[in-house]
């Protein structure tokens, strides 16, 4: 990590988990959001810097069609969510990335948009991928209503009643986004152009801001339509119910390759979280305040687990594990911290012996929560200068390189990729929709156009080609003779410097679950209620229980 020289807690090193334990799909696929998740980082910064918020434009008609602008005004810069509300017939409502119409479309504008800007955006943003945005836009997104909940809330509010809490809990959001594009997509500002702004240096901060402001829009929309329908008898949402609403997100395979394609970034996310856990474990004692917060956080986690539903068999099992394990943790905490030295480490080791992987990763999140002062600064280490890590060191000797490969990729070198079940899948981009998909190598055409995401097999092939090369030859010479290994050689050198950069599992195995990749990434975003709809498609919620812009300044813990 880039911040290692400044580490104020060097004693934590002895408590760090090894990449071989952390970088496994089953564990990554059990990740829980933590206080280092990107939406938490965003809210803490907005509060600490005293950002203010307003809604200078609300031009939505009685049918719910029109446009609105939500501004976030910071000490130096202002960002505006520009929202367009549409009238979408039910038969056109699809969460697929290939949909062509939505209930609402959005972009995050860099500054305060003029009428001219709004007109330009109105001609493009509602088209999403088919339109074109510019370097003054930082993200592009869209959302569909949860028809069931939106209609329920609308009817209730219009008739002067609050919605049924059970209905709110069952869905958790009024609208769900089906894609949030940032970083240079469709003409938007390149990440490199904005990455030096402190508020956008951290990963996905523009996207998180966009989604958080979208949440306000969804509530404003339903209250607006209820007022129009119910007139004087209509009421607004109760504060406590409003809090329970987040923004949904529906996402599929398209997100999965990201973690593989951004190894340095993945390392920095993982390394920050692991350093946080290690620092907590390294604490010689537990303060009464921390123990109190731990207990409160556990209660919240139990409520969250109770309202977390899924019909997917994998997730049903995990949820059962989670609920059982949270109960075990509750029992364990009755005598915590006791008299023992390093009680957090003892708690962690107890978890490793007692809990499922799902429960262990939940415990990680719980243990981080009381330790903001100790770990929140690590959020500043979660971005990555990927360009700086791109260069291959051709002077490395084949001997050293081979040793590194053997050390860091033993998980791959010991896999027999000639077995059909170990190479059953292949990742590719579909010509039809230009979206990433996962094919069956032995039943579908196209494997010759496979994407280089089969890291394990590429490592094994690289090792095979290295046989016969003398230890003292430079890597440059090998790569000149074997350009087909260049991509993997780069990864191997990156992994030597960034130990959490590589997922140590076979990404083309028959039993590989893409949703494990999705869950890891979404947990770093701060997603809750991970709900797979297939082995490669999920719904989640963001910002559930979080404050709204108008509540942010008063919020006690973020």
């Amino acid at each position: 990590m880039t911040c290692s020289d400044l580490n104020p807690a060097p004693e934590a090193a002895a408590f760090r988990r090894a990449p071989s334990e952390v970088m496994r799909l089953d564990r990554m696929g059990s990740a829980h959001p933590t206080r280092l998740s990107f939406l938490r980082v965003l809210l803490r910064r907005l509060q600490a810097e005293g950002w203010t918020f307003d809604r200078p434009v609300w031009d939505i008609d009685a049918k719910g069609i029109g446009r609105a602008v939500y501004r976030a005004i910071g000490p130096v810069r202002t960002y505006s969510l520009v929202a367009f509300a549409h009238d979408l017939p039910d038969h056109m409502r699809s969460d697929r990335v290939i949909a062509t119409a939505w209930d609402a479309t959005f972009c995050l504008y860099d500054g305060t948009p003029s009428e001219t800007d709004l007109d330009r955006l109105q001609a493009n943003v509602p088209l999403q991928e088919a339109g074109r945005i510019s370097s003054t836009e930082l993200s592009l997104s869209r959302a569909n209503r949860s028809v069931r909940l939106f209609d329920h809330v609308l009817e209730r509010l219009a008739s002067g009643q609050q919605p049924d809490v059970a209905e709110i809990e069952a869905v958790g959001y009024l609208m769900r986004t089906t894609a949030v594009y940032g970083s240079g997509k469709f003409g938007a500002a390149d990440r490199a152009a904005i990455a030096d702004r402190p508020e956008l240096t951290g990963p996905f901060q523009a996207e998180m801001l966009s989604v958080w402001l979208t949440r306000s829009f969804t509530v404003d929309m339903v209250e607006h339509l209820a007022a129009l329908r119910g007139g004087d008898s209509a009421v607004r949402l109760d504060e406590s119910i409003r809090r329970r609403l987040g923004v949904g997100n529906s996402t599929g395979l398209g997100m999965a390759p990201f973690l593989v394609r951004h190894p340095v970034l993945l390392n920095n996310w993982m390394a920050a979280r692991e350093e946080a856990l290690a620092r907590v474990r390294a604490q010689p004692s537990a303060t009464p305040e921390a123990v109190t917060i731990l207990g409160q956080t556990l209660e919240k986690a139990q409520r969250n687990a109770a309202s977390w539903h899924s019909e997917h068999p994998v997730q049903v099992t995990k949820l059962a594990d989670l609920r059982r394990d949270l109960t075990r943790i509750e029992e364990k905490l009755a005598a915590f911290p006791g008299e023992q030295d390093h009680p957090w480490d003892a708690l962690w080791r107890w978890g490793g012996e007692t809990l499922s992987i799902e429960g262990q990763e939940a415990l990680l999140s719980l243990m981080l929560e009381p330790h903001g002062d100790l770990i929140d600064g690590l959020a500043g280490c979660m971005n990555a200068d990927e360009a700086a890590a791109f260069r291959i060191d051709g002077t490395e000797s084949v001997g050293d390189f081979r040793a590194t490969l053997g050390r860091d990729y033993d998980w791959a070198l010991n896999t027999d990729f000639d077995k059909p079940q170990q190479s059953a899948r292949f990742w590719y981009v579909s010509e039809e929709k230009l979206e990433p998909r996962l094919g069956d190598r032995y039943a579908e055409d196209g494997a010759e156009r496979e994407l280089p995401l089969c890291t394990g097999r590429m490592a094994a092939e690289l090792a095979r080609s290295l046989k016969g090369w003398a230890d003292d030859q430079p890597l440059a010479q090998f790569l000149l003779a074997h350009p087909e290994h260049r991509l993997m050689a780069r990864r191997v050198q990156i992994c030597a410097r960034y130990p959490y950069s590589e997922i140590q599992d076979n990404l083309i195995a028959e039993d590989m679950l893409p949703i494990d990749l999705l869950r890891c990434k979404l947990a770093f975003f701060g997603a809750s209620h991970f709900d797979p709809r297939s082995d490669r498609w999920v719904r989640i919620a963001l910002f559930q229980g979080a404050p709204y812009p108008q509540d942010l300044a008063e919020e006690k813990s973020l």
Partner: protein
């Protein structure tokens, strides 16, 4: 298949054409597209990545990197990339066969060898018959960053010096001189440099260049089948 202008989730970039027949891509889009096009033309993935980074560097500094790349790729879509890699003999690098040298492969290899005995640090290098010297510029920048000194290339009476991310040239850097096939000498010039600094400005790209890159990028994709369609999406109603 060429992507439709309105094709969602495009990995390439069919964008609306400006009145001047030019389009503006973000640097992210351009880098991704260039890498896919290079891969589509048959370069290995690791070299295709280098091509993407190189084109981005050029385009951000006022050179039409996208055009340089598509010209180079179109010369060589037959898949003879291995024959266009350098064979290193003392200070002279030439291609293995009768083909010219690929500036992508040659540039990448210059970077890999930089501080090795056969590399630039040890002395000037002559690259014989480079297919488009302009594409070497980003790699010279990489060398300059690594060695902490200016790096220069000279060919057919032209000389360009790169120091870090700055480009200096005495003559105007027209497309012709950047794309000609030429013998190129790479060396570390004396520190004194009186040439004009080329002012960086992001170049738009011509719609035909974009179409060319898109067409090559499309050849990295796989046609749809019933099975592939089934795997995408939740398979349940979203109207809930």
């Amino acid at each position: 298949m060429m992507p439709e202008p309105n094709d969602p989730t495009r990995a390439g970039a069919p964008v609306p054409q400006g009145v001047d027949g030019q389009v503006r891509l973000s640097m992210t889009e351009l880098e991704t597209l260039a890498a896919k096009a290079a891969r589509g033309a048959g370069l290995e993935w690791g070299l295709a990545e280098e091509a993407g980074v190189a084109v981005r560097w050029l385009q951000a500094r006022g050179f039409d990197g996208a055009d340089l790349l598509i010209r180079h790729l179109k010369h060589n879509t037959g898949g003879c990339w291995r024959d266009m890699a350098p064979v290193i003999e003392k200070r002279v690098w030439s291609s293995a066969g009768s083909h010219p040298l690929s500036p992508i492969t040659a540039g990448t290899t210059l970077g890999d060898y930089a501080t090795l005995p056969d590399g630039l640090e040890a002395g000037p290098i002559d690259l014989l018959k480079v297919d488009g010297p302009g594409l070497l510029l980003p790699f010279l920048s990489g060398l300059s960053h690594l060695l902490g000194k200016p790096c220069a290339m000279e060919w057919a009476g032209n000389r360009i010096v790169v120091f870090g991310n700055d480009v200096h040239s005495r003559t105007s850097t027209t497309t012709d001189i950047l794309t000609d096939c030429a013998d190129v000498r790479i060396f570390q010039p004396d520190a004194a440099n009186t040439a004009t600094l080329v002012t960086p400005r992001v170049r738009k790209i011509a719609i035909d260049t974009l179409r060319g890159l898109d067409a090559l990028a499309m050849s990295t994709t796989v046609p749809a089948s019933e099975q592939s369609r089934q795997g995408a999406g939740a398979g349940t109603s979203d109207n809930d």
